[in-house]
Symmetry: C2
Amino acid sequence: MKVDFWFSELQNEDVKFGVRVKSHLFSKESKYQKIDIFDTEFFGRVMVLDGCFMITEKDEYMYQEMLTHPAMVSHPNPRNVLIIGGGDGGVAREVLRYPVESVDLVEIDEDVIAASKAYLPKIAVSFEDSRLKVHNMDAFEFVDTDKSYDIILVDSTDPIGFAASLFSDVFYMKAQKLLKGNGIIATQSGSPFMNPDFIKKAHRGLKGHFSNIRPYLSFVPTYPSGMWSYIMASNSPIEIRGKFKGRYVNSEIYQSCFALPEFVKKILES
Amino acid sequence: MKVDFWFSELQNEDVKFGVRVKSHLFSKESKYQKIDIFDTEFFGRVMVLDGCFMITEKDEYMYQEMLTHPAMVSHPNPRNVLIIGGGDGGVAREVLRYPVESVDLVEIDEDVIAASKAYLPKIAVSFEDSRLKVHNMDAFEFVDTDKSYDIILVDSTDPIGFAASLFSDVFYMKAQKLLKGNGIIATQSGSPFMNPDFIKKAHRGLKGHFSNIRPYLSFVPTYPSGMWSYIMASNSPIEIRGKFKGRYVNSEIYQSCFALPEFVKKILES
């Protein structure tokens, strides 16, 4: 029997998205945020940070694949990859499908990693791969490292609170210095429909440090509005070279994801 | 002051989408369905049929444009258009942006038209155009007419209850007979993520009567999952010819909307 037990995300103060819960598996106030894991009827297990859906077992691949693969297949030979955030392990899982040498994952909140390992093993599977090194620190500090990377993927929470620095001009400047000459950075940039200021700010910030900027979109049903945006940026030309096929991505998606509806183009031009 | 007053659509028994309501403007049990109009904080006025969002002022253009324009710009000279359903008037509004001769709109529920005229005047504006003729009857009967059309647009509710016949094999056969040789039919086919059986059934049904079938997708934030599907079908080749630009559609969208994520391709192949 199903009981009347729901978790809802307040997507803004006037819009909410609710899922029927089977059980509340985990809850913790970490040093940085409230972490919850629910088992839900429709979406399977879900991870919620500060009341916002981060991952559901049913649709996580749409986001993880679309943050990761467009950049990976646009690079001729990605060997060294930096993931900012991504403590659930999902983006790392996608990166590790390629013959990379090393992946540095910089997650400030070790409790997110622990929760993912305990409750989302299919997503956290990447933590068993010896090519992956976890750095439990603030990414804004990590980017002062003297390492260099082919790909940087910014899989952070939205630019409010402790993650705000990851969308700042200084961060983009530091990220640009970390990238090799033909390196590519990709960041999530929120829902253009619900939060147009986010993509506008990220777009403007990246434009200050990179000559090639390519915003793109994908469906993510459990993120606000179901329309999610990302931006790839590089100081070399960005062209799709690879053909990696996933559960969401394929060659047609790599070509088409850059097509922006007219209202999104207007946001970026404004 | 905002009060704790919400309308939620149960997208299925385990998922709901809620919007904060300013006021409940209209409610009626028509002969066919329950019709509600709410004024909401985020989405403006919304029309709800049997508990499901049909239209919101904030995102209606995404659906109306994407059901209408891909077919219209794929036809060399669309003169006579048939709209099945569409009693709110939004699809007709989009069709009437072209120099068409006549638009027949077949809406079974006259109360939907009346509610749209009273509460959604920017959408119902099409009813003032003399090229539009409203037929207040069951579309399944209307399609026995001996008229013929360049374009048929199926803007119906989902294939349950009284609208089920509009996705039947017999309906597609009759629709095919109504189309001129180079005519095109386009139908909405639901959310592949939430309801894969719907697009699968529509795809299979259309394949029985048309040689060219082109499924495509758009974002619609207030429809379940935010990912909505449509299918165009014709017995002539379908190629984009026009460049009509709207608030959502543009030349890039016409090219890219046919790219299907891998999981959607799998649904259609299964």
